[in-house]
């Protein structure tokens, strides 16, 4: 995934992207090209970096390949519908819906679960991370728990959670929260441990109480690591969510894909996958935006 704000960049028509690849024998006129570039930078958004342009080109390439395969009817539409059909289905999902709910309702249900789980994971994970980072006792108690939980795939404890918490919302939120917890705890703990000793000492020499050191020095120092942990755990939570919804749900993007698969509605499955990817990408961008806004100082001293 790109570090640059790709989604905020003006979309580029495919024809423009293909320009460098179809170079006339005498070459692209240098001056003409540069003036176009200069206009672009001065008038609106900054020029698209080459790397982003290449990435967009790759995506366009995949779409073209997909379209070609379906247009030539190399694969039956039942297995791989055309891009146009999927796009059309996506629109219909948004307007008419699928299995008694519109796309927005499915997406809303999924997002509610993830954010409820994120909240729970933060409420539990941040104090746990501080306990591990600050005290040997806390570390002794919580380290085995985290190390036990971390490597288990959420699908492995999903049946147990369903036995304990039933097949309602609680079970799904619980499974997602369990998947989100370890990254947050580990990131917070390492952030706390990495706090500069000198910064703490300076605060103490200014008369800070231990509670003030925690609030005014350790907490802000830990914020970048905490946001990194949140980013990782959102990824983990989102992938667990879809799995959790495959098992037992009446609404949600994962459920939508699962029921569509039962009807062999491949276009809905593909549309759902695209929505899931888009939302994950949006999460990533949102957290990066938060990082830039609130901890822009990180790594700059």
């Amino acid at each position: 995934m790109s570090l640059h704000p790709a989604p905020f960049v003006r979309p580029v028509p495919v024809t423009e992207l293909s320009l460098p690849f179809i170079v006339p024998a005498e070459g692209v006129p240098r001056d003409a090209d540069q003036t176009v570039d200069r206009q672009r930078t001065t008038i609106s958004l900054p020029a698209i970096p080459a790397r982003v342009a290449i990435s967009l080109g790759t995506i366009a390439g995949f779409l073209a390949l997909w379209w070609l395969v379906t247009a030539l009817q190399l694969v039956p539409a039942l297995f791989l519908p055309a891009p146009g059909a999927v796009a059309e289905r996506l629109l219909r999902l948004a307007n008419e819906g699928f299995v008694d709910a519109t796309l927005a309702q499915h997406l809303g249900a999924s997002l509610m679960r993830v954010f409820a789980a994120l909240l729970a994971a933060l409420v539990l994970g941040v104090p746990a991370g501080f306990a591990i980072g600050l005290s040997a006792v806390g570390r002794g108690i919580l380290d085995p728990v985290v190390e036990f939980l971390r490597p288990i795939p959420p699908l492995a404890y999903l049946p147990l959670v369903i036995i304990w918490a039933g097949i309602g919302e609680t079970a799904k939120v619980l499974v997602i929260a369990l998947a989100m917890l370890p990254p947050i705890i580990i990131a917070t703990a390492s952030g706390v441990r990495a706090v500069d000793r000198n910064r703490v000492n300076v605060a103490r020499a200014l008369g800070a109480t231990p509670a003030q050191v925690l609030r005014f020095v350790v907490l802000p120092s830990t914020l970048p690591a905490l946001l990194t942990g949140t980013r990782i755990s959102l990824g983990a939570g989102w992938s667990t969510l879809v799995a959790a919804e495959l098992v037992a749900a009446t609404r949600g993007v994962g459920f939508m894909i699962q029921s569509a698969a039962n009807f062999l509605a491949t276009d809905v499955v593909l549309a759902g996958i695209i929505v899931i990817a888009a939302v994950a990408f949006a999460f990533e961008c949102a957290v990066r935006l938060i990082e830039r806004t609130f901890v822009g100082w990180a790594g700059r001293g």
Binding site: N198, R204, L206, G207, F216, P220, W297, R300, G301
Partner: protein, 263 residues
């Protein structure tokens, strides 16, 4: 023990346990009396225990033996009566320059308006008037160290402890900063303990020179110095540093250091 002193160090000893058993003696029987308003330069080679001594005065470490007294109170931990400036400026990058300076005031719940006024005063004192809104990463190394000094000063400590504060700066900035320290000392009348491993800095900056040799760190020389007061009187360090008596003092001091310190 003389309790009328600003700072009294009495038979201070410090030993640290080694990871695989045994211990290392870093300081042995260090005694020092510092009257108010003195600018003490603590000079020694690397590893002689001068930073350990400063940490003990600051209260960051508890001495194995002996006592540290500041203003008739025994030091048992860090406190706002002893301000600290370290070699790494240890600024808080999430705060701008002004809020870094005002940090100590915020800890005491002083109102925002007063914090701003006092922080701006301190910034002006270190020659950074108008730079309060700058982020820490927008400041040069010398400017950052000035902010660090202002941050220590704004809390109005009795003693200023400076642990090689100019060690990471380039030579030219370092000379400017030396004169800044002298100016701040003259204007505020603070008692300052300044650690350095530079002979020139030690001779030029202090009103009193204390040489520590070790390990284990022991005081091998303790005498008054004339050059800082002369620099303030005559204004200008370059002339003093090239004067014959400065060079002579430098040669003598070099002899003391290399006689006392193991290579």
């Amino acid at each position: 023990m003389t309790v009328s002193m600003k700072l009294t160090i009495f038979r201070l000893g410090m030993r640290f346990p080694l990871p695989h058993g045994g211990e290392v003696e870093v300081l042995r029987d260090v005694n020092l009396d510092v009257p108010a308003g003195e600018l003490v330069l603590l000079l020694g080679a690397s590893g002689c225990g001068k930073s350990t001594l400063l940490n003990a005065i600051a209260g960051f470490t508890t001495p194995t033996e002996g006592e540290v007294w500041v203003d008739k109170r025994r030091v048992t931990g860090p406190g706002a009566d002893r301000g600290v400036v370290l070699q790494t400026d240890a600024l808080y990058p999430w705060l701008n320059a002004r809020d870094n300076v005002a940090f100590g005031l915020r800890l005491r719940s002083i109102a925002q308006t007063e914090r701003t006024v006092r922080a701006e005063e301190a910034l002006a004192l270190v020659g950074l008037a108008g730079k309060g809104d700058h982020a820490t990463w927008q400041l040069s190394g010398g400017q950052r160290q000035r902010v660090s000094l202002a941050r220590a000063l704004v809390a109005d400590p009795d003693i200023l402890l400076m642990d090689e504060p100019l060690g990471a700066l380039d030579a030219l900035t370092r000379e400017q900063m030396q004169d800044l320290v002298l100016e701040v000392w003259q204007r505020t009348g603070k008692t300052i303990v300044f650690v350095t491993h530079s002979l020139d800095e030690a001779l030029y900056l202090g009103t009193r020179l204390v040489v520590l040799a070790g390990p284990p760190g022991q005081i091998v020389l303790d005498e008054p110095l004339p050059f800082a007061r002369r620099a303030l009187r005559e204004g200008g360090g370059a002339k003093i540093k090239s004067a014959p008596d400065f060079a002579a003092a430098r040669e003598r001091l070099r002899g003391v250091i290399f006689a006392g310190a193991q290579p």
